[in-house]
């Protein structure tokens, strides 16, 4: 049945229906309404194109869904983008239709209205479609050489997420995000789907990186300084994400564990993101300082809400008394609800009223005329004029306000929310105490006592890894777990040192020459930076009395201070268990044993010298498990504890060098020294079991060296692999030594160190 079930139809509408020529009954039902909207916004030609294209969608063979969405959405899209956007969009859909990606057409059309509102212009829309097209072409399957047979797994997911994504990132950011997904999950349909539907951690991390706005993680120190400097407070910040919780919008709060803040703030009303964070903190500090918890049981929910609004105003008022400049920020962020925005007959106006009162208190130039609002704002200021007032006084004022302004319609289920949310305020959970716990709600969660898990090790630290293929970092790619190295028998190390006593003696002589002397004056110089008056006078007196004067009458200065912090990073991978090969090898020692001797000697030598010195070992078992073993810290002495750990050194697993270097660097970075040196003792190239591409970890290590260099850390590699020349220069440039004769390592390592730091 192709005809509409109406008895009478306007002839014009009938003509349109024929022009559409679509037999789906669902279309017939809505056609008239859609047409009415289209007629009001589209031009004559626009109507023709609209119907023509709807006709195409109808006959496309993709069911009723595409044409329905198009008929319903196009008029509104046309108003945002302009009618002329249609050919480009039609072209794009046709391309999808001709590829195996027909299934993606519906999600594309569904999200089109929302995306166009985000993008706003045809140019941007074109960029978006180009991006999607490239995406489609690159992910449409050519598995086993069968050309374009399988649909792109990620594309429909991508379209479903696109309005949200565009809300978070710019087109350029979106492009980076898509690029990353295709590159890493291009050949893995399941993971690709996870990535583009924002299910995987990776995809969220990448999105976070591309986000616009002020991120909490980047500004934690600034906010910490803010609290400390302006408020003399100290708190931990715990971020929560606004992104994945669209319905229930979390708001800031604080408790014993810290202050919860959103992970990102965009600039708003001329207030920078960082200032929005500061506003939240100022508000919370206000509560911490001036709010005393009161009993909630005696107040109705509306009364509580009123008390909260007034108490919020009070702490802000007091904060502004300290820092008047806060007013500008609060004023810009606080909504200014229009007086007539809410019809109290149809919806509950309680929030609207309170937001107006709060605004009136904050803004001395408000324009509200409602007598109650003006009266209570004045009563508030009168209270504050006497001093700090109190939470209890606010409660009394709130009850009075409630009594005067109460309306029957407050109970209506539909509450007016627009312009009533003050998003820098916390949820006021600290303001209330309860006589009876949960007399209204059933308190299920009170019974359960959460037992704290015993912490067995430090939580992992995540490091990015460099992907040379794309010249980008993979964010938070590697997890580094740090633990204390197990302990062994320290006497073993002492024995090793006794074994090398002769070498130690020679080293000691070299070390004595390196001992710091700081600024030294060199006197008796023929040439120098200044005249040494005493000597000059003596020479002159000699001269006058007829003797030969000493010409060395100048002096100069030289600084010979030592300010070097050293980090020794040991590769503890499986290959160290091999027997050392080399000329005249009869000892049968493993590389590990030789390294142990060398490190012991070096540690002894550095300890004698007094330079700050740390030792760490590392090995890895995939990117999820890089272990960093703490052997000696900067503040630890070279004692039995440390020797014990060194004695227990063991080798296993693989070598993910970059992450270990970055981790070690964050310790070295914290040292206060003019020169920072990281020595890396390894016997092979970086590699790991989960990485097929050999170059990848080499390039990552090279990037790590560059990063360290920027941080002012000098890296130097001591490589025991005779074939190391193939790769070690790629990573370390010229900063390496290959020791082919491993037997001499115990001797060479301390010498090398001395030569490096002379």
């Amino acid at each position: 049945m192709s005809e509409a079930p109406t008895e009478y139809e306007h002839p014009l509408m009938k003509a349109y229906r024929e022009q559409l020529g679509c037999g789906f009954p669902q279309v017939a039902e809505v056609f008239e309404d859609c047409m009415a909207e289209a007629l009001s916004v589209l031009s004559r030609e626009g109507i023709d194109a609209y119907l023509e294209y709807a006709h195409f969608l109808c006959k496309m063979g993709r069911g009723v869904e595409p044409v329905l969405i198009f008929l319903e959405e196009w008029p509104s899209i046309a108003t945002t983008l302009g009618e002329s956007a249609l050919p480009a969009i039609a072209d794009f859909i046709r391309k999808m239709w001709k590829s195996p990606n027909g299934r993606a057409i519906v999600p594309f059309l569904q999200s089109l209205a929302a995306t166009s509102r985000r993008l706003h212009s045809q140019e941007q829309m074109q960029d978006y479609m180009d991006l999607a097209l490239a995406f489609m072409e690159r992910t449409t399957g050519s598995i086993h050489g069968i050309h374009t047979t399988f649909a792109s797994p990620g594309l429909p997911e991508f379209f479903k997420q696109s309005p949200y994504l565009l809300n978070q990132v710019s087109i350029a950011g979106l492009k980076n995000w898509v690029e990353y997904g295709i590159r890493n999950y291009g050949d893995h349909p399941e993971r690709q789907r996870d990535y583009f539907s924002l299910q995987s951690a990776d995809s969220r991390a990448m999105l976070q990186k591309e986000r616009h706005g002020t991120l909490l993680v980047d500004n934690e120190r600034k906010l910490d300084l803010y609290l400390r400097g302006l408020w003399r407070e100290d708190a931990r910040f715990v971020p929560y994400s606004l992104k994945f919780d669209e319905l229930r919008k979390p708001i800031p709060y604080y408790d014993k564990l810290g202050i919860r803040l959103p992970d990102v703030f965009d600039d708003r009303n001329g207030v920078a993101g960082i200032d929005r964070y500061r506003a939240v903190l100022a508000h919370i500090v206000g509560h911490r300082r001036w709010t005393t918890a009161i009993f909630a049981d005696n107040y109705s929910p509306f009364q509580r809400m009123t008390i909260e609004f007034l108490e919020d105003s009070r702490v802000e008022y007091l904060a502004m008394r300290q820092y008047p400049g806060l007013r500008r920020i609060f004023m810009a962020l606080h909504p200014a609800p229009a007086e007539d925005a809410c019809d109290p007959e149809k919806e509950s106006a309680v929030r609207h009223r309170l937001a107006m009162l709060s605004r009136a208190i904050l803004d001395p130039n408000h324009t509200y005329k409602t007598p109650h609002i003006i009266e209570f704002a004045q009563r508030f200021h009168a209270l504050m004029a006497q001093g700090e007032s109190s939470t209890q006084a606010m409660a009394e004022l709130a009850v009075a306000f409630g009594a005067k302004t109460r309306r029957q319609s407050d109970q209506l289920p539909k509450i007016h929310f627009k312009d009533t949310e003050v998003d820098y305020r916390d949820d006021n959970r600290q303001m209330w105490k309860f006589i009876e716990e949960g007399d209204e709600e059933e308190a299920f969660d009170q019974q359960r006592k959460i037992e704290l898990e015993e912490i067995t090790g430090l939580p992992p630290r995540h490091y990015a890894e460099w992907d040379y293929n794309s010249q980008t970092y993979r964010p938070d790619w590697v997890s580094v777990y740090e633990a204390l190295h197990p302990k062994g028998n320290p006497a073993h190390i002492d024995q090793l040192l006794i074994k090398h006593a002769a070498l130690a003696k020679r080293l000691k002589r070299m070390l004595d020459l390196l001992k710091p002397q700081d600024k030294v004056r060199i006197r008796y110089q023929e040439e120098g930076s200044e005249l040494d008056l005493d000597v000059a006078l003596r020479s002159l007196i000699d001269y006058k009395s007829g003797a030969t004067p000493d010409p060395r009458i100048n002096m100069s200065h030289k600084t010979s201070g030592r300010d070097i912090a050293v980090m020794l990073l040991l590769d503890l991978s499986e290959s160290l268990n091999e027997k050392a090969s080399g000329p005249g090898d009869a000892s049968g020692q493993t590389i590990l044993e030789l390294s142990q001797e060398a490190v012991s000697l070096l540690a002894w030598a550095v300890d004698k010298l007094g330079d700050p010195f740390a030792i760490g070992g590392f090995h890895s078992n995939t990117r999820h498990d890089v272990r960093y073993l703490h052997i000696k810290g900067y503040s630890e002495r070279w004692d039995d504890e440390v020797k014990g750990r060194l004695a227990a050194m063991e080798a296993a697993y693989s070598t993910r060098m970059g992450a270990a270097m970055r981790h070690a660097a964050h310790y070295l970075q914290a040292q206060k020294a003019d020169k920072k040196l990281m020595l890396i003792l390894t016997d092979g190239e970086p590699s790991d079991v989960d990485t097929k591409d050999e170059r990848l970890l080499i390039e990552d290590a090279r990037q790590a060296v560059k990063e360290l260099d920027q941080q002012g850390i000098y890296t130097y590699c001591i490589n025991l692999d005779p074939k190391a020349d193939e790769y070690v220069a790629d990573i370390f440039g010229k900063q390496y030594t290959v020791i082919d004769n491993i037997q001499r390592l115990p001797e060479r390592l301390p010498q090398l160190f001395i030569a490096l730091t002379k």
Binding site: K222, G229, L230, R328, D534
Partner: protein, 267 residues
């Protein structure tokens, strides 16, 4: 004989006492005990000494110490002249001869072997041997030794020897409390109290950050600079940035926080 008057302080310097330090100093001077003044930079150490010299009506000889200073820079040396050499007294010797208060400012900046020459002057002997000249000077009855240093450097190298420390009586100075400091800034520059209070508040912000990226908070001296600039017609925010924030830090986060504190204080 050196002209004593040139070292006299003629006009009363403004000094706001924080505690009993004026009376205590007078007592120390009466017994001619050497005095050491410790405290952060710009908190009024030098001003205090100047004020006491004025109050006691004694000449004051100030030496700013630095690490290139030698013992002869303090004691004196022979200098060359057309027809021979001539002995020239150093500031310490001059002070001992004429009976002045000798003030060694930032003494830890001088090398430790240099500071040892003050030892015989700072115990019961009160003498200064000039070995090169072969003369032993008995200190004038009015002579007194005062040193100052800033223990905030926290450097092992920049500390006084115990043998030096234990020859002095000591005052510990700190930045005055907010109310007092407001008064000082207002009086010193002639600005109104409200503005001075705001400046002091910004100063307090920076002092709270000491140890968290700042080695030293904003000193009273800098607050006075800022007030002077504002009095000279500079916009308060610009003056604060120029006089209070930019000099003390290169750390972007701290600069940003202090800038915000300025904006928050000047509405």
């Amino acid at each position: 004989m050196t002209d004593k008057d040139q070292y006299k302080i003629r006009k009363e310097p403004f000094y706001q006492a924080q505690g009993k330090e004026i009376a205590l100093y007078e007592a120390a001077y009466a017994a001619r005990l050497p005095v050491m003044i410790k405290g952060p930079t710009g908190c009024g150490k030098s001003r205090f000494v100047e004020y006491m010299a004025w109050k006691l009506n004694k000449p004051l000889i100030t030496v700013a110490c630095n690490e290139d200073m030698t013992a002869s820079d303090l004691v004196g040396r022979y200098i060359l002249e057309a027809n021979g050499t001539r002995w020239l007294d150093g500031p310490l010797t001059t002070a001992a001869r004429i009976g002045a208060i000798c003030y060694l400012d930032e003494i830890v900046e001088a090398r430790q072997d240099t500071t040892v020459v003050i030892h015989p002057l700072t115990d019961h002997r009160r003498t200064l041997p000039l070995d090169k000249k072969g003369e032993l000077i008995e200190a004038h009855a009015d002579f007194q030794m005062v040193i100052s240093y800033n223990p905030g450097y926290q450097s092992l190298l920049k500390d006084l020897k115990q043998s030096t420390k234990q020859r002095f009586t000591a005052f510990e100075f700190d930045y005055p409390d907010a109310q007092l400091e407001t008064g000082i800034v207002a009086k010193e520059t002639g600005t109104d109290e409200a503005l001075a209070a705001k400046l002091v508040k910004i100063g307090a912000t920076a002092r709270n950050l000491k140890g968290h990226g700042l080695d030293e908070g904003i000193s009273t001296r800098l607050l006075v600079y800022a007030a002077t600039l504002i009095k000279g017609g500079v916009e308060p925010r610009d003056a604060c940035r120029m006089a209070l924030v930019r000099p003390i830090t290169d750390d972007a986060d701290i600069r940003d926080t202090l800038d915000h504190a300025i904006d928050a204080t000047f509405a």
